[in-house]
Symmetry: C2
Subunit: 177 residues, 2 copies
DNA sequence: CTCCAATCTTGTCAGTGTCAAGACTAGGGC
DNA sequence: GCCCTAGTCTTGACACTGACAAGATTGGAG
């Protein structure tokens, strides 16, 4: 740990994720983050420039984590779907920010975003052709929609716990013949 | 048009919806709304109490609009799904707020919310039994997930315009045998 | 005509994001 | 050993925001 604080950047990102998970991005306060980290109110600015910068960094981190989770899930699209939902539940703040472009600078997240997209499409490609239907691309959007919607609804508290606990049966309905 | 402004309440809600649709809920400013409406900075407080109050009113309005749209769509669940997505695209700010409980007071939206839920379940009940699968409730969550996910992804700019233009083929994939 | 309740204004306060300027620290070149 | 530069953090300031209190204005009921 280097100087006064050492890994302030990491600490701020982690604390921001906590705060957002509890009270949402709208209530996020840089000064509050600084207080929790024990630094002055202007310290965050040095690492992230401004608030958008911090949220941009969070979004990038989120896309990287998602890409990892998806590739770790292997080639099966069902497992990828479950991994997608688990990621959202495990990192609600990242997930929240990632899909709200007004919260960050979209032009800075390119590479990280592409990595996630590639991981998603890879999962789709490994699926047997008959299950993909006549238009595989449409099936891809349907799959993304169902897991994304499931995750979003679960995070907002709109799905009962027992359903959230095992998303597999719900996802399977899209591919069941 | 009663007093100085007349229907300030309605104007503020409409302007808030515009502002949120453009820059997101986090950037919403009561003082800015007041300026746009041509009233003093404290005028909104009288109608909504505080910021949460305004967003709560928006959420209620959203649930009412959604309930209307769903019942107007008739008994078919495919049409209901399309109506759900069209509602989200037509009223992005309402939709955004409705599904972010940290933005408003959940204990004040009961009735409006129940009306929407009832309209949704009615659509599901009118569906022929074989399409609902072994567990109709799970199918309901799957249907909700796919249309909600589709709407959310579309609003965040993650779906190509031609797919958004006609969501039907994507939704149909869930029920196609 | 009076009075009242609803609506809006003015004034104020603490809290926030951002910028500018300066202070401190670590580590490398001499 | 010493300096000096780049990176890190602090201090101070400013405009803006949400919220509160107190007062002004208005339309309408009686």
């Amino acid at each position: 740990m280097g100087y006064h604080h050492g890994d302030l950047r990491r600490t701020l990102l982690a604390t921001a994720a906590e705060a957002i998970a509890e009270t949402g991005p709208a209530a996020l306060s840089l000064r509050d983050l600084a207080r929790r980290a024990g630094v002055s109110h202007a310290a965050p600015a040095h690492h992230f420039g401004d608030k958008l910068g911090l949220l941009t960094a969070l979004a990038i981190e989120g896309y990287e984590l998602l890409a990892e989770a998806l590739t770790a899930a292997g080639g099966d699209i069902l497992d990828a779907g479950v991994a997608y939902i688990r990621f959202a539940m495990a990192h609600p703040a990242h997930f929240e920010v990632m899909f709200h472009p007004t919260l960050y600078r979209e032009d800075e997240i390119g590479p990280a975003r592409d990595a996630s997209a590639a991981a998603l499409q890879a999962g789709l490609a490994n699926r047997p052709a008959p299950e993909l239907g006549p238009d595989p691309q449409l099936t891809g959007y349907a799959a993304w929609s169902i897991v994304h919607g499931f995750a979003t609804l679960a995070l907002a508290g709109n799905l009962p716990p027992e359903v959230v606990a095992d998303p597999r049966p719900v996802i399977r309905l899209l591919f069941a013949k």
